[in-house]
């Protein structure tokens, strides 16, 4: 579904009545021709009695990088995990509100979870290749979804590894156990797994926090490259990383999305005092 930015929040009247949520501004470069890929509306989430997300509303533009920042425990990872329903894996979770991917509410019905997660892929904080060979790691998704077989699969594996710039290094080591790779290579491999199933969205949960500076830089370069093909949402505790790579940034605090807007605005002209406090390092 292709909606214009102007009516992005048109059908969420609660926004105006909820004092705790600042109405997100429409970032200037959110022009007419651009498409909203994911839209969360009035999202509330409880772990047992604890409310981890409070009335979160935001939109993610297609083929852009959206960053979520905030101190630990603010709910940014939780929000991320709502976008591909990974929170379903946890007991005792209750979710209200809606998340639309390409206009379809993913929480509306039981839905086709595997198809959703294939479309909205995820990269984790600690790279988590399976204890299988490099080849089998990349081939895992296509096999599971019956997307390719035999020779086709070989081609797909090569293409996916090329996409993350691993093919030249690893083409002779495809049968080796993926656990032997370096951390950075593992993280790239995990992204290659998503490329292989033709994910459209990549959710990244602090993808660089286990990496050294050099590897961080290389993954960030990769993200900029991937932007051409994917919509990326990244959670990071490193504000500068958000400033460097993202187009839009959301700042979260204690379960609320305090502010959401163009990255340049958030970092230069934050509208909320708390955002400013965080960005200038008064806490966190």
């Amino acid at each position: 579904m292709n909606r214009k930015t102007g009516d992005m929040f048109a059908n969420s009247p609660e926004l105006g009545t909820c004092p705790r949520v600042l109405r997100p501004t429409n970032p200037p470069e959110f022009g007419d021709g651009e498409k909203v890929k994911i839209r969360a509306e009035n999202l509330n989430l409880w772990y047992g009695d604890f409310q981890a997300l409070i009335d979160v509303t935001m939109a993610v533009r297609e083929k852009s990088i959206t960053a979520l920042i905030g101190s630990s425990g603010c709910g940014k990872s939780t929000l991320l995990r709502c976008l591909n329903r990974m929170n379903d894996l946890i007991d005792d979770v209750r979710i209200e509100g809606s998340v639309r991917v390409d206009g379809r509410d993913i929480y509306a019905s039981a839905g086709d979870l595997p198809a959703l997660r294939k479309k909205v892929g995820m990269v984790f904080q600690r790279p988590n290749p399976f204890p299988l060979s490099i080849y089998e790691n990349v081939a895992f998704g296509p096999r599971v979804h019956h997307q390719a077989k035999g020779g086709e699969l070989d081609g797909l594996v090569e293409e996916s590894l090329r996409a993350v710039d691993l093919w030249d290094v690893l083409k002779d080591r495809l049968r080796e156990n993926a656990l032997k790779l370096s951390l950075e290579q593992k993280q790239r491999l995990c992204i290659a797994r998503l490329a292989a199933v033709k994910s459209e969205v990549v959710l990244m949960d602090e993808p660089c926090s286990a990496l050294d500076p050099y590897a961080t830089m290389k993954i960030e370069d990769l993200m900029r490259l991937l932007k051409a093909k994917f919509t990326i949402v990244i959670v990071t505790h490193n504000m500068q990383q958000a400033a460097r790579v993202s187009d839009e940034t959301g700042f979260m605090l204690l379960g609320e999305l305090v502010e959401f807007g163009a990255t340049t605005d958030i970092f230069t002209r934050p509208r909320d005092k708390r955002t400013e406090d965080y960005i200038t390092g008064r806490f966190g």
Binding site: N84, M86, L89, D91, L113, P114, A115, L116, R117, K118, K119, G121, M122, F124, R126, N128, P129, F130, P131, L132, F140, G141, R143, V144, H145, L179, C190, R193, L194, V197
Partner: protein
């Protein structure tokens, strides 16, 4: 001074803790030494090769024939039968309990497994002899229901708690990251289990099966009560057999101290001890390998 007194007290306490810590080693050594003390003498009557390889166990004929091959084969047969039943069932149940069952049901199932492991073997043996044995006799039309198969059935249930609990631990120990990675790629729960979790849990599952063997081979009462105790080399699983453990339990009461028979029973104990030692050592290796990965 008060402080140095405290130090001295703590030092003494720490020594005591250390001694208790090493007690297990002492006991294992003691067990081996005292089995040897009574059992080694049998080799004054028969050679080791004869003891392990001869086909006849007639301990009270004169001269006594002390070949434990029929007993070893009896134990192996009963064990193999038990494992063929318990390993697939146990692993499947472990997967169900660890991964599929809803929370409440899981608690119930786990309690059932715990209860099963708590039922004394003599009670199982009693039920076996009163219910299972007559049933098998009639159902299969056998001359007697006291067979290796009855023993295998009983033992399968005795090994199941071990196999289930340890496999379940291994499945739970598979890093959450693997499961999340698979699910996040859109794999179904079943695909995640079959394609990823099983790989991670494999060493633990092997260890579970090994420890199941250990439990089965060492089991005494239930097996003694339902297998018929015929010390002959078994041809099929539907014949009476006699196991190593049952031989000791049944005959020790009648063997006069100091006779070859008496020593031979201790020697059987040594064989059992060494078997369980080897099994536990191997299982431990697998368990550690599982942890390292």
């Amino acid at each position: 001074m008060k402080r140095s007194l405290r130090r001295a007290k703590e030092f003494a306490l720490e020594r005591l803790l250390f001694l208790s810590g090493t007690a297990s080693v002492v006991f294992v050594v003691l067990i081996f030494v005292f089995l040897l003390r009574e059992g080694a003498a049998v080799f004054g009557h028969v050679s080791l090769g004869h003891f392990l390889g001869a086909k006849f166990w007639y301990p009270i004929s004169s001269p006594a024939k002390l070949g434990i091959l029929p007993l070893i084969l009896g134990s192996l047969l009963v064990t193999a039968g038990a494992l063929a039943i318990a390993v697939p069932l146990g692993i499947a149940a472990a997967f169900y309990i660890a991964e599929v069952a809803p929370k409440r049901l899981r608690t119930v199932l786990k309690s059932c497994v715990e209860i099963l492991s708590a039922i004394p073997s003599v009670v199982l043996g009693f039920l076996g002899i009163t219910l299972l044995v007559p049933f098998l006799k009639n159902f299969l039309g056998l001359p007697t229901g006291l067979t290796a198969f009855s023993g295998s059935l009983m033992l399968a249930f005795m090994a199941m708690p071990t196999i289930i609990t340890i496999s379940e631990d291994a499945i739970n120990a598979v890093p959450r990251e693997y499961k999340e990675g698979a699910v996040a790629l859109g794999a179904t729960h079943w695909q995640t289990l079959v394609r990823v979790v099983i790989h991670g849990a494999f060493p633990g599952i092997i260890a579970a099966a090994m420890l199941g063997i250990g439990r089965v081979i060492g089991e005494t009462m239930a097996v003694m009560m339902v297998t018929g105790n015929a010390a002959v080399i078994p041809r099929t699983i539907f014949e009476p057999v006699r196991t190593l453990t049952a031989t000791i339990a049944a005959e020790m009461g009648e063997a006069a101290q100091g006779t070859p028979h008496y020593h031979a029973l201790f020697a059987v104990g040594i064989v059992l001890f060494l078997i369980s030692f080897a099994i536990n050592l191997t299982a431990d290796l697998f368990l550690n390998r599982g942890k390292k990965r």
